[in-house]
């Protein structure tokens, strides 16, 4: 889970151009500056490419928290 957290953080840092960005499980989109609809598409796609998984249309469209995102990732990567 630590690896997953680090790698996910890496994707966020890349997409939001911010080396200092640190993720917490309770974070949601409004907590991260610059998380607009374009950044959202880029982010979700970046995650797909990095982790080699595919989100469903529903998952793409709405994302509640980082914790939830990690749960989805963990379940896909089993």
């Amino acid at each position: 889970m630590a690896d997953l957290h680090d790698q996910l953080e890496g994707v966020f840092q890349t997409i939001f151009n911010n080396d200092q960005l640190q993720l917490r499980d309770d974070m949601s989109p409004p907590d991260i500056p610059g998380w607009d609809s374009v950044a959202h598409v880029n982010l979700m796609f970046g995650i797909e490419q990095t982790f080699g998984i595919r989100f469903t249309g529903d998952e793409l469209a709405r994302l509640e928290t980082i914790g939830e995102l990690k749960r989805i990732l963990a379940s896909r990567m089993r």
């Binding site: 151009n17 374009v38 880029n42 796609f45 490419q49 989100f55 249309g57």
Partner: protein, 674 residues
């Protein structure tokens, strides 16, 4: 879907460590950790390149930052990393980008291009092109092209990219009159091209239509002329066929197939944000689009320098002898043969081949002379260097022999150490990595897109011959007595005549890529030159040169304008293949004649210095012009037309046509001239 960019543990840990050092503000420490992790790779992973670029950005080292951000392009087509690197480069001043060319490009699209634009920018920069991009409003490509006062036209683009997808075509799923339906749709695109040509001087880049992998008709779709599948195929064919000289067509259907159509077409992203091309396919699309741009701008590579042992054949000729080499037989031998076949095809489209090998010369040549299965012959190579000196040194000498700049070269070697040495010593030379397995050589070289060609002119097809002829002429010079004897022995003839419509493509190609003998380096577009031809005050002509070895084709161009009693030279250039043949004297003679016919009293010329045209700094002075002005290195020269003397005779006979041409071309391959 594959996990393409899952990081190795060592890279992950380096990045993790670097992040910790960065939060403690230890930029140097973070940089060192990343650089030492990068040392393990020929092309370090993108995430690592990005981190290194960011460290350099923080340290204020812009050059290194640019270098590493562009290295991410070589690392692989990783969408998020490319985007991040593109944003790093956004605010870098133009001078630090060290681009070989700059161009203005308008993107007009039927889908969301907010991601594609920065990706195209970084892909173009990797090819040496600094792009200023205007992104048209979402989905309004038609309105922008049809409206003469659109923002797109006001931007004055050099290139106009039509990035469109098959949803945009007005073709039904099935149609009783398919040819009419296709013609109607084709007419729409033709009219868009025409409008763009009337309202701008831009070259159009048309993406063709990738065909979707889903089709309810299944295999029947390819059999029924009235199916949408067949109509789209027909439309793509017509686009390619009807694209004039001003339209470049990018074969997106082929790129999509290469990428994998089920990945290229990702309905989730279309539904979510109108992305017609999956985001992870965009870097590849950007690379191909940039390669076509580079080709049109004359930046494609011209010469491929090849190692021999384990590059052109399996084994080491010095150790295994000619008979011990793997070439032609068995899976490995066949792989090398297939590679040679591909190289021969490159040669016949005008790429010059050369050899640079660490071997004794006799041993290196033996396989070409003695091995029965060898496909390439010694005379396929314009230069052949086999010795024990460092390869970068040899490459420089090849570049001198062929009179081609280092940025025209690609170097291919199976040995990673040789590649590394070449990249370090001569970064201007492109040195792509080769896989261990020769079966994959063709694919690896093809993927580099370094030899993309926008058009194929007669000159391109014959270039390889001409460079070989040049090397021969140099030999003749070495053996000839005096320079005058040498020139006479070449039996040179030239056709000098006004630019004709058939010559336009070649003229624009020369304008785009001539660097050395180019007095003003004005990169006029096809549209601009077409305007010149209609201008009665314009004096323009081309020169075609042949000698006893070869027909060099159309190799020189001069454009001037009559201003009252002065004839002012706007552009004067000559291909590097024929520099030093006294053609400039013959051109001056012709120009003087034209000037007098127009009632001019003097000729005025301008020399605008660039990094590459030092060769012609003193040209006007050598031609008997006198200096009348100098500002910031740019010099203005004048020569009276009353003066009928020429400073030196040319050794060229001016003719109206070449009576007996060297043997004609068949299938794009040239028989050797007698």
């Amino acid at each position: 879907m594959n996990a393409h960019f899952v990081q190795s543990a060592s890279v992950q840990s380096a990045l993790h460590q670097a992040n910790q050092l960065l939060s403690a503000n230890d930029c140097r420490g973070a940089l060192e950790v990343c650089l030492s992790a990068a040392d393990a790779y020929e092309h370090p992973p993108g995430a690592l390149c990005l981190k290194i670029a960011r460290c350099y950005q923080r340290l204020g080292d812009t050059d290194a930052m640019v270098h590493w951000a562009l290295s991410a392009v070589d690392a692989g087509e990783e969408f998020a990393v490319w985007l991040a690197c593109a944003s790093l480069l956004k605010n870098v001043p133009a001078a630090s980008l060290k681009a070989r060319r700059s161009a203005r490009l308008a993107v007009l699209s039927s889908y969301t291009t907010v991601q594609f634009v920065p990706l195209l920018q970084i892909a173009a920069l990797r090819q040496g092109i600094a792009l200023e991009i205007h992104e048209g409003p979402f989905g309004q490509y038609q309105q922008e092209v049809l409206n003469p006062s659109s923002v797109t036209y006001a931007f004055k683009p050099d290139f106009l990219l039509l990035a469109v997808d098959e949803r945009e075509t007005n073709l039904p799923n099935h149609c009783a009159q398919p040819l009419e339906a296709v013609e109607k749709e084709m007419a729409r695109w033709r009219s868009l091209w025409q409008h763009a040509e009337e309202n701008s001087t831009a070259t159009i880049i048309q993406h063709n239509f990738a065909l979707s992998p889903e089709d309810a008709l299944g295999h029947l779709g390819s059999r029924l002329a009235g199916s949408r599948y067949r109509m789209l195929q027909e439309l793509n064919r017509r686009l390619a066929e009807e694209a004039g000289e001003n339209v470049l067509v990018l074969d997106c259907d082929r790129i999509a197939g290469t990428f994998g159509k089920e990945r290229w077409f990702d309905p989730r992203y279309w539904l979510l944000s109108r992305q017609a091309v999956a985001l992870d396919a965009l870097p590849l699309l950007a690379r191909h689009t940039a390669a076509l741009l580079a080709a049109r701008l004359g930046l494609s590579r011209k010469c491929l320098v090849l190692d021999l042992d384990n590059t052109l054949w399996g084994g080491t000729v010095g150790e295994d002898g000619v008979s011990g080499l793997q070439i032609g037989d068995g899976p490995k031998g066949e792989a090398y043969l297939a590679f040679q076949e591909y190289l021969r095809a490159l040669k016949s489209k005008g790429i010059v081949l050369a050899v640079c090998s660490k071997n004794d010369e006799a041993a290196a040549k033996a396989p070409f002379e003695k091995h029965p299965r060898m496909l390439l012959r010694l005379d396929d190579f314009a230069a052949f260097v086999a010795n024990w000196r460092p390869k970068p040194e040899n490459l420089i000498s090849i570049s001198r022999t062929l009179n081609l700049g280092l940025d025209s070269f690609v170097f291919l070697d199976d040995n990673p150490a040789e590649r590394l040495a070449m990249r370090r010593a001569l970064p201007a030379v492109e040195t792509p990595a080769l896989p261990d397995d020769p079966a994959l050589y063709v694919r690896a070289l093809n993927r580099t897109l370094l030899f993309e060609t926008a058009v194929l002119t007669e000159e391109d097809r014959r270039r390889a011959e001409q460079y070989a002829a040049r090397a021969k002429a140099d030999e003749a010079r070495a053996s000839a007595g005096s320079l005058a004897d040498f020139y006479s022995s070449l039996k040179m003839q030239a056709i000098i005549e006004p630019i004709s419509p058939e010559q336009l493509l070649r003229v624009v190609q020369l304008l785009g890529k001539t660097n050395q003998f180019n007095l003003t380096t004005r990169r006029h577009s096809l549209g601009t030159v077409s305007e010149f031809l209609k201008d009665p005050s314009c004096v323009h002509f081309t020169a075609r040169l042949r000698d006893c070895f070869t027909d060099h084709g159309l190799v020189a161009l001069l454009i001037a304008f009559v201003h009252g009693e002065t004839l002012s030279i706007d552009t004067w250039l000559m291909s590097c293949r024929v520099i030093g043949r006294t053609l400039e004297f013959e051109m001056l003679r012709y120009l003087c004649e034209k000037g007098r016919e127009r009632g001019c009293r003097s000729i005025r010329g301008l020399y605008i210095p660039t990094e590459k045209n030092g060769l012609v700094r003193d040209l006007f002075s050598d031609l008997g012009f006198r200096l009348i002005e100098e500002t910031n290195g740019t010099t203005t020269w004048e020569r009276s037309l009353d003066d009928e003397s020429l400073p030196q005779r040319s050794f060229i006979q001016r003719v109206a046509s070449f009576d007996t041409l060297p043997e004609e071309i068949n299938d794009g391959r040239l028989a050797r001239p007698a």
